[in-house]
Symmetry: C2
Subunit: 288 residues, 2 copies
């Protein structure tokens, strides 16, 4: 069975659009994306985010800076966005050029405008089991997708492959919070195949085309593929070999059309939630 | 082979005492412990912390409050400590009485005086791979103990049993950062025995006497026992059955005399480091 991120995200986006439409205050939620340099993939991602925001009635702005922008200058620009009360949500599109220290820049964004949920205080709250208004979009999107298909992860053995700050570590915490037993694998893992063989749920987030094939998977498992890799042929594929994996898995996300659309939907949900919090509206926890 | 926390912590404490002795500035490091109520175990722990601080030349104060203290009042007292420039390090002894929300209180302590490393911003930095000056004492003590015995965890399969904010989750991150492949187990884990059987390193932090016995362990593994449980007989024992486990393990921590003394040593190290940071002295990272 396909875990369809397109269909699921569409329903979510409709809900968000309705909530935005219902807002009676003077302001609509406003999202600002900051893009440094001209990475072609980043251009596509940011453009998609802006487009979806538009469709929902969320105000959006793209602030562009040249590739040679200095860290200090970028931070000053973020400070301005922090102080601008018309801006509810700020994201810095990653990756940043080499002369800029990513973590330092991300810490400049006010935690209450941190729409990607990457600020240490928001990450720390996630670790402590306190739900911040904005959760990291990709792992939160995975949890929403599992929820949409009524997949209860409690008691499952889960394997997360990839230990990034953006996906691997936060999804590990989210799954643990929901009572899964999680093994966090990475490039130094010696027995990935053995772990995969005993895993009821696999989250692949490495960024390597077809690293995981069906023969290493447990029959009836759930496969969530976060990877988006472009083959020499131009085709987009995940970290999992879809064709062989679908033979073994009970549920599997396609690439594209799985986790990707969920990530964007969560970004919109986060924008709305940050707007609500800033308007003094209490938002409901949904994850923890 | 015994991982001797007593011997290892003694060497560490000597180093710290020397560093404190060498300080030429106007002030010595000062640690304030806050104790609410009269939990007998807490009384013992706090008294030991104060005594060790004294022996090292670290100034210490115990601030006591009655069991019926209200959260708002406790927070005000913490705010005073935040503002008191003579205080470098503040800890709130856990557990707190039921009327008090632990996480909210811990967040009141300034991150730069948070000697237990429990503030969300410090926890978040740990997650992001940025080393805060004060790391959570028990997991940091475990890493120091492993380091003292030159145990390299890179590539090992590790099993952490217990997902607390104080031990389980942070040690999971620390071990991952050092390239171990970690499985985080807990009360909802279905196949704990199978995980233990394939684990090169086991960290037991559940608080249940003798939950893990030798027959579930892999031969030649490393066992770190964080539990301190009192049997009806009055004897203190860990979460691991020491006698059967030592037959299988290559390295094992005793209870008492293993992780406990390391935890106190790390508290002292954290106090010194926070003092140094507040004096504008750059401290060296050691963990990440």
């Amino acid at each position: 069975m396909i875990l369809d991120g397109k269909v699921t995200s569409k329903a979510l986006l409709q809900e968000i659009a309705q909530e935005v439409g219902r807002l009676t205050g003077p302001t609509k939620p406003k999202l600002v994306a900051v893009l440094v340099g001209e990475n072609p993939a980043s251009e596509i991602y940011v453009a998609r985010k802006m487009k979806v925001a538009d469709e929902l009635g969320i105000l959006s702005e793209l602030h562009r800076f040249p590739a040679h922008t200095e860290e200090a200058f970028l931070k000053e620009e973020l400070e301005k966005l922090n102080q601008d009360t018309s801006v509810n949500a700020v994201l810095v599109q990653l990756p940043l050029p080499k002369q800029i220290h990513t973590e330092r820049v991300l810490q400049t964004i006010l935690p209450e405008k941190d729409v990607d949920g990457f600020h240490p205080i928001n990450m720390g709250q996630l670790l402590l089991g306190i739900e911040p208004p904005a959760l990291p979009c990709t792992p939160a999107g995975i949890m929403k997708l599992l929820d949409a298909y009524k997949i209860d992860v409690s008691g499952l053995n889960a394997c997360v492959v990839g230990r990034s700050n953006i996906v691997g570590k936060p999804i590990m915490l989210m799954l643990t919070q929901r009572n899964a037993t999680v093994t966090l694998c990475h490039s130094k893992t010696r027995n990935l195949e053995a772990v995969l063989e005993s895993s009821d749920l696999v989250v692949a987030a490495i960024g390597q085309a077809h690293l995981i094939s069906g023969n290493t998977l447990k029959r009836g498992c759930i496969v969530v593929d976060v990877g988006i890799n472009r083959l020499p042929s131009g085709q987009l594929v995940g970290d999992v070999d879809f064709e062989s994996a679908r033979e073994k898995a009970a549920f599997i996300t396609p690439v594209p059309g799985g986790v990707g659309p969920m990530t964007i939907a969560m970004l919109m949900m986060n924008t709305l939630r940050l707007h609500q919090v800033q308007q003094g509206i209490q938002v409901k926890n949904w994850l923890l």
